[in-house]
Subunit: 114 residues, 2 copies
DNA sequence: ACACAACATTCAAATATCCTTATATATTTT
DNA sequence: AAAATATATAAGGATATTTGAATGTTGTGT
């Protein structure tokens, strides 16, 4: 695939928030309702609902009604993959570009493709 | 691993911007300097530099000097993994939670762990 | 029908992000 | 040394995000 749609970058942005990330991490383990998050996250109920609404409006999560509870669950399949990457342990950095030692001075070496 | 550090979520947030994402996608192909991006992205030089500075300050990229060019390259190994996930094609959604059909009404079924 | 419980929505204020314009710095060229 | 090139930084306003406070909605039990 070429560049991902603006859509997906938007999704990434929505995921990249401390509270929402924890919400998604919890939902990856199973269904939760709003009051569960209220306890778990230690933030106000309206704030929980606001974050859930944002996630919902981006098609990242959905819910079903169970009595007066709203049971939220994951919908967007990108979420588990992002969670995996964020939890992966990385050691060290990517290798520096081979063609151009970090200390080198001088003319730019050509077509800049590597 | 448990929850990823605030650090990584910060990194994700920085990546999750249309311009910066394109910058990283280009850097994944090879070294580029500021004026390359200016042409490629079609935005002003200061704006390019600002995005590069942000990525730099988060340890996501670095550069070496080559004459008066600054040759940028990737440093954070999370970047290729995020690029992969964002470019992955997803079909459909995650399966709805098995224990709780979407249409179900009634008492909440227990401990909410799945 | 009434009261309560679970949750959503609205509004406003604080803060953060983003981009533009202007200016500064460093390196090379002349 | 002066001019030009490549890039960085600073300052500012516009816009977006985030959160708290107040209020609205819907379903349940009595």
């Amino acid at each position: 695939m070429a560049l991902p749609q603006k859509n997906k970058i938007e999704t990434l942005r929505v995921i990249a928030h401390p509270v929402r990330f924890r919400i998604l991490d919890e939902l990856a383990k199973g269904v939760k309702c709003v009051s569960d998050f209220e306890d778990f996250l230690g933030i106000s109920q309206p704030n929980v609902s606001q974050h859930l609404a944002l996630l919902r409006n981006h098609g990242i999560i959905d819910y079903y009604m169970d009595g007066r509870l709203r049971c939220y669950f994951l919908v967007d399949p990108i979420v588990p993959d992002i969670l995996d990457v964020l939890k992966k342990e990385y050691t060290g950095t990517l290798p520096a570009p081979a063609c151009c030692p970090v200390t080198k001075k001088g003319k730019y070496p050509g077509d800049r493709t590597n």
